[in-house]
Amino acid sequence: MAAATEPLPASPDAINDDILRVLEPPSKTYVLGVLFCGALVACGVSAFLYQVYWGFGVTGLNHPVMWGLYITTFVFWVGIAHAGTLISAILFLFRAKWRNAVNRGAEALTVFSVLTAALFPLLHLGRAWKFYFILPYPNQRGLWVNFKSPLLWDVFAIGTYTIISILFFIVGLIPDIGAARDRVRDWRRHLYRVLAMGWRGTSEQWRAHSRSVLHLSGLATPLVLSVHSVVSWDFATSVVPGWHTTIFAPYFVAGAIFSGIAMVITILIPVRQAFGLQAYLRDVHFDNMGKLILITSSIVGYAYGMEYFMAWYSANPYEQMSFWYRGFGHYWWATWTMIICNVIVPLPLWFKRMRVNLAFMWIVSIFINIGMWFERFVIIMTSLSHEYDPAAWGYYFPSWVEWTILVASVAFVLFLFLIFLRMFPVIAIQEVKELHYEEAH
């Protein structure tokens, strides 16, 4: 164990009290926050219905840029959804004990962002009401799907990931819901009674529980690598200069973990302050997450450089022009925002002093969120607007409908997370207790 700056609470009962206190009746600020997020989500839904009614003319999309903010934001949320599984599954398998306090929050973030992400391919469809055409099921219309299309792989990759991450989340929650069931006395206890699935805390149940977590970790681990690889193939299997490259899968996976960890930090630091969880979310957590950020930031930085190197080294004039345009064309501002936020801003994290400085970490994490969103924006927009045919070069800028839906998606994740905070223990009680036990003995 890395050294902790604050001591753990004295007794296991105190842990229960500390963590379950979050579930107690909410403050006014909380209610206002939920209502505000809900209102933004309602704006987003209205914008979407407006788009469905009138058509894609209400977006900024044009010829040749046929993918815009929706796909950017889709990839962004899929990326965010990687942190939870990384922390919960991979770090569990590697027995990285520090993850115990952050895993529940990260898993919740995973579930909410993958659900949000899954909305985007649907609302980006020209005919969203025909979305079921993309599902392979026997039907009397004689329709079938094209298994060669990376978009179909997406359906399976995202679908699988959604199912596994929800299962993982729910299974991990069972003992804590049992604890909450025994404590909470309002209407929620009916919900907890169902979700606790008869949890009594017997050793038999504990054994089954830990085995299921282990097995689900095994199932989820390859998904961390596969989901974003498949998403990257949406681009990499195309012929578009700037997309057609083999580096995309590892580059996207690293970027996903990078942005996912950043989002976990962005959300957990305020939660820690607001609910007084300093004893649980400690320096060691932020120190280690800072190290993960450093690694993945270096990988994406390397990938940025390598893309430019390969464009030059390939001597492919289309590729060269595409990358020249990326850095110095119409979207130069997006490209340099991306590089500064993702490569330059995290550099001070090489010093431990900065990694345990939560204010600094929080600001860096916000920059990374912005930078990683811009990464996808840059990849999509610069490549599409400057392709093979010089007579068909164009420019795209999102419309208010697209911005509204982007903001609404952030609000939607926050909305779900805020509700989650009051409904379920944000820190895995039993895992912290295990940690407490190990430290005490």
Binding site: S238, A315, D389
Partner: protein, 487 residues
């Protein structure tokens, strides 16, 4: 009878005496528009929406200025300028380009109609109608030409001044540099005559976009720019393929098109024909400015400069009906697929609008229905639609079908006569309309069809062939009478 040299001088033509305030002002040139002539075609939305052959602008009039003149006036593209003559004045956006002589301001005639229709069924609709462009006739003082007795078009100087306002200009093509990508290629007459073996180049593995410049023979003339990636990019190799293989082996047909750049004059008539034949929606000025025009074919205009020589080329660009089409493999719902006759088919009814096909099309010829354009069609207007072609609704992709309805008709006709389709039986709308017969349609499986012969011609090339898209559309290089490098 031919005009003898010197015969014109016998007419004693004097250069026109230009009236105007200051000799420093620009000579005004009001010239008939190719699309509207004197304005008789201006009512037709389809003519407003096809790009001007030179400016590639849609929906509007523009004050064309020379590059230096515009710089002197401090006017950039899209600045609204006031053009004032002794007779009148108009305000319209400036469009500086190198096709105008310095010291001249040119305005196309035939625009600026006030759309007044007292019998319009819907007053709201009437109110929404806008004046498109400006009427240039009031600028002409109205004197008669001494020699002919007709209106002296070229008779005034005009003062051009910026108004400070800006206008959005709808442009179908922004840059006219083909960036050495070999979209519109040319060869010199000498090289054409030197080259002996007609099959030496046809369907052989040469380097696609940048390709042919490896030897002197049949060398592409790209202009005076160096070809930076030419040697290094020689690995952009095209594998050999036979376009006939891109149809089912039982099918007697593999349809293909040929576009001859030497005869294409860039008039855009093919676009009109295609739009009318295939019920292409009119997107209007806003749609055109947003880059959402729905034409299935466009004519790309490229300008190559070598020293003082300017070499303008036009390449018609439509769906290439690739044998290995990048659009087909990415569609998740099989809305676009390859049919047995080698056509790349788009089933709009099946399309859910992921738009990946358009992103993955290197030729960028797919068009997306951003709005429900069919909502605007009211009862009498619907009779203008071609009943053989469906009307697409919002949210689906569409593209060139090589006039599949005409192919079906041609095959039916042939079947009734108990034979196969002969060369010339079927003509797509673009080829039918082309005044210079630059477009030819036919069966690439037939060894003696016109398109097969053209494909084996020594001028033959395909665009972006190194991507191994196996295009079904063949291009023939333009012939340059002189080598611009030597001239």
């Amino acid at each position: 009878m031919s005009l003898q040299p010197g015969a014109l001088s016998a007419l004693a033509l004097e250069p026109a005496e230009l009236s105007g305030a200051e000799p420093a002002d620009l000579a005004l040139l009001v010239y008939p528009s190719l699309h509207f002539y004197d304005g008789r075609g201006a009512r037709l939305a389809v003519l407003n929406e096809i790009p001007d052959p030179v400016l590639k602008t849609m929906w509007g009039s523009f004050a064309e200025l020379g590059i230096e003149t515009a710089e002197r006036l401090g006017v950039r593209l899209g600045d609204v300028v006031r053009v004032q003559t002794e007779a009148g004045s108009v305000e319209l956006p400036a469009f500086p380009h190198q096709g105008v002589r310095e010291g001249v301001v040119a305005v196309q005639a035939g625009q600026g109609h006030r759309p007044v229709d007292p019998d319009a069924p819907d007053p709201d609709r009437q109110a929404r109608r806008q004046t498109i462009g400006v009427n240039a006739y009031p600028l002409i003082p109205g004197r008669l030409d001494a020699a002919s007795g007709a209106l002296a078009w070229y008779s005034a100087r005009a003062e051009v001044s910026a108004t400070g306002a800006r206008a959005l200009v709808a442009r179908a093509q922004i840059g006219f540099d083909q960036e050495n990508r070999g979209f519109a290629r040319a060869m010199t007459l000498a090289a054409y005559q030197r080259e002996e073996d007609p099959h030496a180049k046809a369907d052989s593995g040469h380097g696609g976009g940048h390709g042919d410049g490896h030897g002197a023979e049949g060398e592409d003339v790209y202009g005076d720019k160096p070809l930076p990636a030419q040697g290094a990019a020689s690995h952009l190799i095209t594998k050999d393929y036979d376009p006939a293989d891109d149809a089912h082996h039982d099918s007697p047909y593999r349809w293909g098109l040929n576009a001859d750049l030497d005869t294409c004059v860039g008039c855009n008539a093919c676009i009109v024909a295609c739009a009318v034949e295939n019920n292409s929606p009119i997107v209007g000025p806003e749609g055109a400015r947003a880059g959402r025009e729905m034409h299935w074919i466009r004519v790309e205009r490229y300008v190559e400069t070598a020293g003082v020589k300017v070499d303008v080329r036009h390449a018609p660009m439509m769906c290439q009906h690739c044998g290995a089409a990048p659009c087909e493999s990415v569609c998740p719902v099989l809305a676009t697929y390859h049919n047995v006759e080698g056509l790349n088919v788009m089933v709009s009814n099946r399309c859910i609008g992921t738009r990946f096909c358009s992103n993955n099309c290197p030729y960028k010829v797919r068009r997306f229905n951003h709005w429900a354009y069919d909502w605007a069609i009211e009862e009498p207007e619907s009779f203008a639609l071609n009943p053989d072609v469906m009307v697409r609704s919002k949210g689906v992709m569409e593209k060139c079908t090589m006039c599949v309805q005409r192919i079906a008709e041609g095959k039916d006709e042939a079947a009734r006569e108990g034979r196969q389709v002969r060369d010339g039986d079927i003509t797509p709308a673009c080829a039918q309309t082309c005044p210079s017969q630059a477009l030819t349609f036919g069966n690439l499986k037939h060894a003696d069809s016109h398109v097969t012969h053209q494909r084996h011609d020594k001028r033959s090339y395909r665009i972006l062939e190194h991507l191994y898209t196996r295009p079904g559309v063949n291009y023939q290089k333009a012939i340059l009478r002189t080598d611009p490098h030597e001239a």
